[in-house]
Amino acid sequence: MVATVTSTKKAVRPGASGPGKNEHGFNGGDGGDRSGPDRASLRDRYRLGMWIALAAILMMFVAFTSAYIYRQGLAGDWQPIDLPGVLWISTGLLLASSFTMEKAKRALKGGYTPGFNRWISATVLLGIGFLFGQLAAWRGLAASGIYLASNPNSSFFYLLTGAHGLHLLGGLTALGFIVFGSMRSPAPVGVAGYPARVTASGPGAGRETIVEITAMYWHFMDGLWIYLFLLLLVWR
């Protein structure tokens, strides 16, 4: 029986006598096939992985949010804090960084290395700018005597901005690797692009895919911040 299995591997073609739909159950995953490059499937896989990771991160902030609303409902000691004005600036910086990130992604697809480098570096700088803005907001609050433990609203303010900032820092680290990589090998990266890096566990994802999922993450962090900002602004 075992031998049959191996030999029929070639004999059986899609649409052969078996129930035809069998072959279409194959959803484009690379299964056990280690020979082809399957960049497209790897791209799917990395994008999928990023979506799943974002779902988990979202879930954590949903938990924080429900704690926020619950805790505020207990009232008593909740004292609404005035949000530092610098948050508007950092918000602007982050929005701009999403724009440059998108530009960088497109530039990479078009194959322009200098353009790509410019946009991706701008994204990094804007991201750093955002974090400095957040730090400035913290310092501003602290200067007016509002600390983490002052009251529940301030606790949540520091918690949410801090948790978001840490996640953004993760995104910046990824961007840092990308910039570093593109500086190191400034050859044009186009559709032909770099060959997928081959590792023990299969071909790597390729530059475009890495940039693409980093962009997904970055936009998500942008959207998450807008949401948190609105929450802190409106739901006091």
Partner: protein, 591 residues
């Protein structure tokens, strides 16, 4: 086939010991690592439970030897109540997280799922390695709590504030020990999330040709659903843990209410709500019990069908039931809070949804029975444990229907009835799932057979043993014996439970001792067992089409093609009483 398969191998296994066995990215090695982590943990957890049982059975007995090992916990040879609570906490935490959440999913899921879907590895092998090692760090952090000043925490596996939030002042182990507990759980959350991500991506992205969703083995469905639950539940626990850590170390008041006086000191916190923690914790906590049990359900379905030599009864209904259980599981957390001052109408809603989980659970049970109906059953050890699983699931499920009703739970809450309920349905049933899976897949994983005679002996004593332990525990609970107490001799109304407690403890000691049979069988068979064939059970799924143990890249560089459903046993007109999933369609007459 084994020679053709390996001849094609494109990827070569790493050769160095470190890359091959320690920091491996091979899902099979990682699965085994998870398995052994869980094995170590379960042995530790059992030792702790025996210490508790000894204390409960012989409340006045002195143990000078134990006093030497734990000088602070056993002052004068008698376990202090605080030390008892530390045992409760560490036992529960170890068992729930590092046994039941690791072995069924991280262990067997990791090893078997990629093979059953015809893939060469998980979608993200490096992430897979990371999730194991972060889990390992979490275990180290937890164990470290035994060795710090104040010892292990005493707040229970549920870590309810204010007790868990106040620090050393609230009791021994609530200083550094409690911080370590939270850090350990936070690490565990991260690791589980990485794992869940990997499982989901692997299933969606890496199924082989012909493996449509309706041809997935039920094991795969169970691991997948478990991963989805983990992905949605663990972030909430992580969020709760962060808030708790802040309350403890940064003076915030998320959970700590105003006006607390502890040890004659007024606590400088205000306005927080212990109930907030309960909501966050149980939003995670109830799905967590399904994270523990669903893989066991998958393995049970798989094993029952294989050894009944019959297709699983109602495949689609089984898949829908798994999803229904997983989904409903997110809306019942309030049943852990019936006596916490929940609005009675809210409690009623939680109660109704809780009882409604009985429906998909019953679907599963009846389908298992339907699978067995009229079958010529092969009573292998794996099959015995799968049958034991069904028995325990029913026994524990029935008491769940009792506790799910608010009026009854007010009486039963925090008694040993609850202890009995969750041990049967979550603890022991899931452990039986692990045992069944071990006896079933051991030949594939280690290339040798386990000893069936010892296995059956192990099964029978364990099966009778767990009922001998947990039936009296239910009775003690109905009498009103509260959980998390070290001693009951001061309460007249509990005098009748003294005999029950002694009986339970003796049963526990015997049952625990019998596990030595299992451990010996496991290690002996690993090196000395009879060599296993490719498909010793006459099973149908893809892991049985490759050598035992499988080569580094599982299918030796080729893509298996699936032509059949997962449970085609005793198909009329087929040459054998099973059709493997990758057998060519024309080899089998129409059916």
């Amino acid at each position: 086939m084994s020679d053709t398969a390996t001849a094609h191998a494109v990827h070569h296994a790493p050769t160095g010991f470190i890359r091959k066995w320690v920091f491996s990215v091979d899902h099979k090695v990682i699965g085994i690592q998870y398995y052994f982590l869980a094995l170590f943990s379960v042995l530790a957890g059992i030792v702790l439970s025996l210490l508790m049982r000894i204390r409960l059975a012989w409340p006045n007995e002195q143990w000078p030897l134990l006093a030497k090992i734990f000088p602070t916990g056993f002052e004068g040879g008698l376990m202090s109540p605080e030390f008892y609570l530390a045992m409760v906490t560490m036992h529960g935490t170890i068992m729930v997280f590092f046994v039941l959440t690791t072995a069924p999913q991280g262990g067997f899921g990791n090893y078997i799922l990629p093979i059953q879907i015809g893939a060469a590895d998980m979608a993200f092998p490096v992430l897979n390695m990371l999730s194991f090692w972060v889990t390992f760090l979490g275990l180290v952090a937890l164990m470290a709590a035994f060795f710090v000043v104040g010892g292990a925490p005493i707040a229970g596996w549920t870590a309810y504030p204010p007790l868990s939030a106040l620090g050393q002042i609230a009791g021994p182990g609530l200083g550094t020990g409690m911080d370590l507990w939270i850090i350990s759980i936070a690490l565990f959350c991260v690791a589980s999330l990485l794992g869940a991500l990997n499982f989901i991506a692997t299933l969606i992205n890496m199924r082989t040709k012909g493996l449509s969703m309706t041809r997935l083995p039920l094991t795969v469905w169970a691991w997948f659903t478990t991963a989805v639950l983990a992905l949605l539940a663990f972030p909430v626990l992580l969020a709760g843990g962060i808030l708790l850590l802040l309350d403890r170390n940064a003076d915030t008041s998320f959970f700590i209410p105003a006006g607390l006086v502890v040890s004659d000191r007024i606590i400088n916190h205000k306005g927080g709500s212990p109930l907030l923690w309960q909501h966050l914790f149980w939003f995670f906590g109830h799905p967590e019990v399904y994270i523990a049990i669903l893989p066991g359900m998958g393995a049970t379905s798989h094993i029952l069908s294989t050894f009944a030599r019959k297709p699983i009864f109602g495949y689609r209904a089984m898949v829908i039931a798994i999803f229904a259980i997983g989904l409903l599981g997110f809306f019942v957390w309030g049943h852990h809070m019936f006596v916490s001052g929940l609005n009675p109408f809210t409690a009623l809603a939680f109660s109704v949804i809780t009882l409604s989980i009985g429906v998909p659970s019953a679907v599963k049970t009846f389908n298992w029975l339907g699978t067995l109906w009229g079958a010529r059953i092969q009573f292998t050890t794996a099959m015995l444990f799968a049958l034991g699983f069904v028995s325990l699931f029913v026994a524990g499920g029935v008491t769940g229907l009792v506790l799910g009703q608010t009026s009854l739970d007010i009486q039963m809450h925090d008694t040993y009835f609850v202890v009995g309920h969750f041990h049967l349905i979550m603890g022991v049933a899931a452990i039986f799932g692990i045992f069944g899976a071990t006896y079933f897949w051991f030949p594939k994983m280690f290339g040798r057979m386990m000893n069936e005679s010892i296995g059956k002996l192990h099964f029978w004593i364990t099966f009778l043993g767990v009922y001998a332990i947990f039936v009296p525990i239910h009775l003690a609970g109905i009498t009103g014996q509260p959980r998390r107490y070290a001693q009951f001799t001061d309460y007249a109304y509990l005098e009748p439970t003294a005999g029950l407690n002694t009986f339970t403890s003796i049963a526990a000691i015997v049952t625990a001792a019998v596990q030595i049979l299992f451990v010996v069988n496991l290690f002996w068979s690993m090196f000395k067992g009879k060599k296993a064939a490719e498909n010793p059970w006459g099973a149908t799924t893809l892991e049985w089409t490759i050598p035992s143990p499988p080569p580094h890249d599982n299918f030796g560089g080729h893509v298996p093609v699936v032509h059949h459903g997962p449970y085609e046993f005793s198909v009329p007109g087929a040459p054998k009483d099973y059709i493997m999933q990758n057998e060519p369609p024309e080899a089998v007459p129409a059916h």
